[in-house]
Point group: C2
Chain length 96, copies 2
């Protein structure tokens, strides 16, 4: 598995808008095992994204999809910066 964890600082007041764009773009992407978009409780402009993919190739391929490229184009102006961006090796995607 291949994973990403990122923390985005969003333009003030635009967090819900960016989150909606990210979630739209993530529907049914091949190889995407988990995609969690979460507001930071302590930071009104902070957004966390946790992604799990079958492998890095699946993630890279997703970035070439027209709908993902459209989401990136719409979302980019709302982003002040990616404060954190970490590649991970997820060990298991659990849930009950």
């Amino acid at each position: 598995m291949f994973g990403l964890i990122g923390h985005i600082t969003v333009q003030p007041g635009r967090r819900a808008e960016l989150a909606a764009i990210l979630l739209e773009g993530s529907d049914a992407l091949p190889g995407c095992m988990s995609y969690v978009v979460a507001e930071d409780v302590a930071d009104a402009d902070g957004l966390w994204v946790t992604e799990v993919w079958t492998d890095q190739a699946a993630h890279r391929a997703s970035l070439e999809l027209p709908e993902v490229q459209a989401s990136i184009a719409r979302g980019r102006p709302l982003i002040v910066e990616f404060d954190q961006f970490h590649e991970t090796r997820p060990l298991q995607v659990g849930s009950a």
Copy 2:
């Protein structure tokens, strides 16, 4: 939904052991919607945990379960520190 994102610095060489303990303890916990344990690729002793719960009460209740308390007791000595620990409001738990 209620979420947590944490980054743990693990005692050198003990990351796999701690990850196994965390994953054992997370099996089928009531109210746990997603539980991702992932190694930090850039940090040999770094471990990320991303949790999604139905609500904060479900998370609190999980901490009272004997099996979770046993996991915490076994895991704690392997932890150098929680470098990051963030409460979140997950907006959606997506996957394809």
